[in-house]
């Protein structure tokens, strides 16, 4: 069963220089117990896209399309219904912990508040559960730290406090926006284990936004690649890494530094150029100006996602690439 269905989602900002389309007719769905990874270039609309699901987008924006959570259209339900869902059924791990945590409230009180509000726990019970949760995410001396403020924690500890808060009420859908960027890889491995375990035990669905291809390879069942506000390629994880087809996806995978490469002998391959700023919904391929394979047709029509060989694999490209991807190995 699909927990979440996003169809034709659009988010447009009103700015001083006119409208900016950050999410441009985005479609995807997530099944119960599925872990979906969203990857894509910085600024392509990943965060805005997930914030708008529960009405958390910045004020100067308008949202259109359909967002169905277990059959309920979230774009039309009341604000009080959204408040009831947030943190309880659908929980977020926000990209920037420093702005998401309350700087004036101790860590212990902040996490306990979630438990008390949504689960009606007593003060004492909530406190014990907070210690458990902080230990689960690997915060050393958890009990001694209940009384500290966010600025007294390291970047990675703040991130883990947010993770603890998000999983506190066993949500049915967890939206994790870059949840492990401040964690070393051993702590990250523990968090990934914890998330998988929650999925297995509770059937929790997870949407994880990450730029770390190792994390994608480790945790995702399926991957959506975004570019300029759209899903340009989507496939089960093994299929995507084996047969990346969109020129942007291929560029992304080729940009990962390989073992043994060093700046003195090797130059990393980025993707030259910048993401375009869309003033209205795209009527051509948004990647065409940066693409080595672009033809006149790419600048004349917008490619729509279409199935290609490989189960569950779709790509929005007029010139899908099927050659195996060669990654340059280091010395």
């Amino acid at each position: 069963m699909n927990v979440l269905e996003v169809a034709d989602l659009g988010v447009t900002f009103a700015t001083e220089d006119g409208p900016v389309v950050a999410v441009d007719r985005l479609d995807y769905e997530v099944r119960e117990g599925e872990i979906l990874a969203i990857v894509g270039e910085s600024g392509c609309g990943k965060s805005v896209g997930v914030l708008s699901l529960l009405g958390l987008q910045p004020g100067n924006s308008t949202v259109s399309g359909r967002v169905s959570y277990r059959g309920e259209d979230l774009l039309t339900v009341s604000e009080s219904r959204l408040r009831g869902l947030r943190g309880r059924d659908i929980a977020y791990i926000f990209q920037d912990p420093m702005t998401a945590l309350n700087p004036l409230m101790t860590v212990g009180t902040q996490v306990a508040e979630t438990l008390r509000k949504h689960l009606g726990m007593s003060k004492a019970a909530a406190r014990e559960r907070v210690v458990e949760l902080l230990e689960l995410v690997g915060i050393p001396a958890a009990r001694e730290r209940l009384g500290v403020y966010p600025h007294q924690l390291s970047g990675g500890m703040r991130q883990r406090v947010m993770i603890a808060m998000a999983i506190a009420c066993d949500p049915k859908l967890l939206i994790a926006d870059e949840p492990t960027t401040a964690l070393d890889v051993t702590v990250q491995a523990g968090i990934i284990e914890t998330l998988k375990e929650l999925r297995d035990r509770l059937g929790m669905a997870i949407v994880i936004i990450t730029h770390d291809m190792g994390v994608v390879a480790d945790i995702a069942d399926r991957v959506v690649v975004m570019y300029a506000g759209k899903a340009i390629e989507s496939a089960p994880v093994v299929e995507l890494f084996a047969h990346p087809t969109h020129p942007y996806t291929r560029g992304l995978l080729q940009a990962v530094p390989q073992r043994g490469q060093h700046a003195t002998a090797h130059r990393l391959k980025g993707i030259s150029g910048n993401v375009p700023v869309l003033r209205s919904t795209a009527v051509a391929c948004s990647f065409a100006d940066r693409c080595a394979f672009a033809s006149d047709a790419c600048r004349a029509v917008r490619p729509e996602p279409a199935p290609i060989a490989g189960a569950g694999h779709t790509v929005a490209c007029l010139h899908p690439q099927t050659e195996p991807l060669l990654l340059q190995k280091g010395a």
Binding site: S42, S47, E178, L183, T186
Partner: protein, 343 residues
């Protein structure tokens, strides 16, 4: 600038640096005796456990917080001996990119004003060339020049992070402390930022303390790498050696825990999970602070704290390590197979 430089002296010398904080639950030993030298034009990677004290070192290195004890020397000058005003003037030559880009840029100024501020304060370029220089800096970090007119809250996480980097680079620092400068960037944008840092080093002799959890970025960029665990440096080695032959068991575990960007390989791999209790910086274990989680720990590890000492490898290169189990040739027994459980 040349007359301010002190010959070939290192850009940064940290000596027995300590930072302790008092919190309601006790004393946090954030940094507990760290020595580190960064040469002119050298990129040193700083990696290690989350909470091990990396950001605290970075802030002390550019005089944003003062050490509890120990000293920081920038270009041969002991920071403790300088009046505040002189320290501020040095900000042009020594700068930092904060780990949390959201909280480090003023929400009320445009991106252009934020980046041009150091250019104006330190009079780096003539007034009429400021806009041009801002556009150039934005382009170097992969942002469109028209980003200058926008406010921080109108940007994505990775865009804000690049604004912080452009601002830190504006004054052309001799030393940059870059605290997780690419953590919010996708790999293609990260590639251009890493290339930029490498170019600055090669063309301008710029030095950098590059703090990151991304081991592939560190391997690509760093000349030397220091590994931290619980407030201490446990290993310092040339980048060619660290990834091939990690000496400290923690380094070994860390390298093995990095996920591989290949789902088939990654899922077939043995997963490294550190066993044992997570040590607390408020009450560090006796002896070697890694011993409760170290699969090789012996009696001496439980009782005696290992000093960071110099070893010489078979190939002649030297390195430093704080582990009783590593010989003077930098060699240690392999981690036992069961510490690397099949996943």
């Amino acid at each position: 600038m040349a007359e301010q430089q002190n010959g070939d002296a290192p850009v940064l010398v940290l000596r027995d640096l300590v930072k302790h904080y008092q919190v309601p639950g006790g004393t946090v030993r954030s940094v507990d005796g760290v020595d580190l030298v960064i040469g002119r034009g050298e990129i040193v990677g700083l990696v290690g456990e989350s909470g091990s004290g990396k950001s605290t070192i970075g802030k002390m290195a550019v005089a944003l917080i003062s050490p509890s004890s120990g000293s920081v020397e920038l270009d041969g000058v002991d920071l403790a001996a300088l009046p505040k005003r002189r320290v501020r003037a040095m900000r042009k030559r020594f700068n930092i990119v904060f780990q949390d880009p959201g909280s480090s840029i003023n929400p009320r100024t445009t991106v252009g004003d934020a980046i041009s501020e150091p250019l104006r304060i330190h009079r780096i370029v003539p007034r009429r060339r400021i806009d041009e220089r801002v556009a150039e800096l934005l382009e170097q970090v992969g942002l469109r020049p028209d980003t200058a007119a926008r406010y921080p809250h109108e940007l994505s996480g990775g865009q804000r992070q690049r604004v912080s980097l452009a601002r830190a680079l504006a004054a052309g620092p001799e030393l940059l402390v870059a605290d997780e400068p690419t953590s919010a960037l996708d790999v293609s944008v990260q590639a251009s930022v890493l290339n930029l840092v490498a170019d600055l080093q090669q063309n301008l002799g710029f030095a950098c303390l590059f703090i990151s959890h991304d081991l592939s970025a560190i391997e690509y960029l760093a000349d030397r790498i220091a590994v931290m665990y619980l407030g201490r440096i446990v290993e310092v080695a040339d980048r060619r050696d660290l990834f091939e032959r990690p000496m400290h068991p923690y380094t070994d575990v860390l390298l093995q825990a990095a996920p591989v960007a290949d789902p088939v390989e990654q899922r077939g791999r043995e997963r490294v999970v550190l066993r044992g209790e997570i040590p607390s910086p408020m009450n560090p274990p006796s002896g070697c602070s890694f011993h409760p989680r170290c699969p090789l720990a012996t009696e001496v590890c439980r009782t005696t704290e290992p000093a960071l000492r110099t070893v010489q490898r078979a190939d002649g290169r030297t390195a430093q390590v704080a582990c009783h189990l590593v010989g003077d040739d930098g060699v240690r027994a392999a981690l036992p197979a069961e510490s690397v459980p099949v996943g």
